[in-house]
Amino acid sequence: MAENAVKERNEATAAKTVQFKIQRQDSPESSPYWETFNVPYRQNMNVISALMEIRRNPVNSEGKKTSPIQWEMNCLEEVCGACSMVINGRPRQSCTALVDQLTQPITLEPMRTFPVVRDLVVDREVMFDSLKKVKAWVPIDGTYDLGEGPRMPERKRQWAYELSKCMTCGVCLEACPNVNDKTNFIGPALISQVRLFNAHPTGAMNRDERLDALMQDGGLAECGNSQNCVVACPKGIPLTTSIAAMNRAASVYSFKRFFGSDHMVD
């Protein structure tokens, strides 16, 4: 009885197909082109399972055999950021993009804010370089044991946890009108990371260094307040609040640096 019901349901859904319109690119230098695929529908499928189906059977909607689509993925639970792409015009993670919730044809494009490697694979290295630039870490290495650092209040830890959800996926950079090939803007995520590490009791000991980095070319000041980042962020990080908070920190810091005496931190 139950087996029959499953069989019936599978037959009903097997007839259904999902149309995908995918922007492809064979190499970093070659020009992009579109290819359409009709993928057999399965219940609860997401964009990644559809891409896997195309990989299994790389035949486009014209019935021609083609090369499988290249894309990146890792965690499949929206915490790594690797599978980010532009789906139906908006950047997001393809693992949590459920086919049932998307209008067809479902268009997939690479996040062109970053250099395209192939098809949907982009090189997000610029973000990792920026993390180094703003010193987004807590430096504790040394030649001897530094002992325990200051304690972080629990409520502050809970607040900081929200900022730490950033997975450097690049969606906010893709959404930002000021991150493009004409500017050096490092993007909203990086500014929020400075807030996270400057809020950390041990990290705060190098607060001035991170603010200095944020006040360089391509830093904080290149934000144009379109506030797309906070709309786009898949982790709901309060990016615009972070930017405004860093704006205030930079105002106070630059004032102190110019008019103050010779202090560095505080």
């Binding site: 000021n178 290149e222 934000c223 144009g224 106070v252």
Partner: protein, 215 residues
């Protein structure tokens, strides 16, 4: 030629190195003195609604202030030119995407840049028609403006120019508060949005009433 290039490169390096400071300066100058000057300008213009004589008295007073040339250059021309040219650079290095994100703030971002570019053209034309003509010997008075806006196309150009300027100031004031870290929380930013909408309406009414007084 190569000396010229190396000077240009030096200027570019300087601009890049002091990008943060220049952008903060751009934000500050938009409010002080330019925003303050615009407000004062529209209020003085409003004398036109009280008749020819009232306007001419006010415009005579403003045009004959002591050190007027110094005031003009320091309070108006130099800050305005920096704000305009650096603003053009900011506007043309953005890649607006209102079709992807049709949110209120994203539209404001786009309109801020559109009105900014338009204002560079409008203000250049406005200065040519008034201040430069004065330098050539023309009399700046009610009749000068009445002659200009007698042409309905010019009147439309001025109306769009005035509304662009009041919008650019009000919305620029909103982002000034964010840029300097005064409004941080979403709530304070939302409230300042409404306050700036009010500022936009009040300044627009003053400006529009004044320009129609010349018709």
């Amino acid at each position: 030629m190569s000396a010229c290039l190396s000077v240009l490169r030096g200027v570019k390096d300087f601009m890049r190195d002091s990008d943060f400071g220049l952008r903060r300066l751009h934000s500050l100058l938009g409010i002080l003195p330019i925003g303050l000057f615009l407000t004062q300008h529209l209020i003085i213009n409003h004398f036109a609604t009280q008749g020819v004589e009232a306007f001419n008295r006010a415009s005579d007073f403003m045009g004959n202030l002591p050190f007027v040339l110094w005031l003009e250059w320091i309070v108006i021309y130099i800050p305005l030119m920096f704000h305009a040219f650096f603003g053009l650079y900011i506007a043309f290095t953005a890649k607006p995407n209102t079709s992807r994100y049709g949110t209120y703030r994203n539209w404001m971002f786009f309109l801020q840049r559109i009105t900014g570019v338009f204002l560079v053209i409008f203000i250049a034309w406005h200065i040519w028609q008034t201040r430069v003509q004065k330098a050539f010997g023309a009399e700046v008075d009610f009749d000068m403006m009445a002659d200009i806006v007698a042409n309905p196309l010019m009147l439309a150009f001025y109306v769009v120019g005035i509304v662009s300027a009041t919008f650019h100031l009000a919305n620029g004031f909103w982002s000034f508060l964010v840029t300097w870290g005064i409004t941080q929380s979403p709530r304070s930013q939302r409230i300042s949005t409404f306050v700036m909408m009010g500022l936009f309406l009040v300044l627009s009414v003053i400006g529009i009433r004044a320009i129609f007084a010349f018709v």
